[in-house]
Symmetry: C3
Subunit: 150 residues, 3 copies
């Protein structure tokens, strides 16, 4: 059976349940596209992830670590902006089988068992994620139209 | 003096202050029962916990670790559903006296000093937590009435 | 160029983007003062921090550790109350260059790259943070006017 996401709304808030096998970034991108979400915070997320990539920004590049094994997802936070489609920035805290926590900037992850995720959206707004040439990184911009003005 | 919880609401949101000595799961269950909360996200939580149990799901059972000593509660996230009374699913990140983080699926915990917890409720909704026979685990169901239909 | 914060509101919620070089506590205090925020939860925060101080409460004092190097900010949660100006209580989870997590009670931090922070405010309310003489600590009080009554 194909993995399937549940989503229910209350005002500007969405509770999501992602199912085993879903790619976390693809699932959130698809959802943002379907619901025309162009500005949101990923407020909370638990469950498990496997096939995980986490990064540490050393000022020039992400020092990457890959974790194939399932880990408990203990914290998931970030934002959804728009930069040629949904731009999703997530940081994650993950527990190993020994209950130690690892984490950082999340580069990829596949849902294991399930994920319970809470989004808070900002309807009518568009967050941007333009490249900051000085840092060599994309940075969240809460008011891109204001900066774009001459 | 008996430990005592404070709770204030803003719209569909509750801010809670739990007091030293309270059992975290019992306090949240009692609160959900009193306020008829049948669908909610535990969005944020800090403070300290002691007499903690954390688990890692290895596919068959929770590999459990118990921490008697007080730990800083650095992250607390999850959901409140209904399954013969309030069903509370929490993951926690906890700091040791050496400032290292441990955590995972939270199985028990007693409030130390205080806990500051934010809930976002979904009034009018009932989240379920039925057993998934394939996984041998209870899984959040955001729309149980839809699945229960013939 | 002087570091500059962005802030956009949706109802009682604020999304903030702090910029490299800002002192995290000073920036949040200034913002609370400007917006007359006297009761709020810091719900979510990611980005990077450097010049960090974290503490573990051992029952008598905070056992402190200082981290000069930039760390990924993986979790940031807490509350804003009022006690002779804004009183900000934060706990943080931070990733080292080796992707290990450290954290606890946050005592100081300077924004690195950026911080994306979500606040939920309780307009019309004032949270207090009076000293608990028994514990020797300031403790969040969600209804200080009620306790102040004779």
């Amino acid at each position: 059976m194909r993995p399937k996401m549940q989503a229910v709304a209350e005002g500007t808030r969405w509770m999501l349940r992602l199912d085993q096998g879903q790619d976390l970034f693809a699932a959130l991108s698809d959802f943002a596209r379907e619901q025309s979400i162009r500005a949101a915070a990923v407020v909370s997320g638990i469950g498990m992830l496997k096939d995980i990539g986490i990064g540490y920004w050393n000022g020039a590049e992400y020092v990457r670590k890959d974790l194939a094994e399932p880990h408990e997802l203990v914290g998931l936070h970030g934002s959804i902006a728009e930069a040629d489609g949904p731009s999703i920035h997530l940081h994650a805290a993950l527990a190993t089988p020994d209950h130690e926590l690892v984490g950082g900037h999340l580069m990829r992850g596949t849902v294991w068992v399930l994920n319970e995720i809470l989004l808070e959206t900002f309807p009518g707004r568009v967050f941007g994620r333009p490249i900051d040439e000085t840092l060599g990184l994309r940075k969240l911009d809460l008011e891109p139209s204001r900066l774009a003005a001459p």
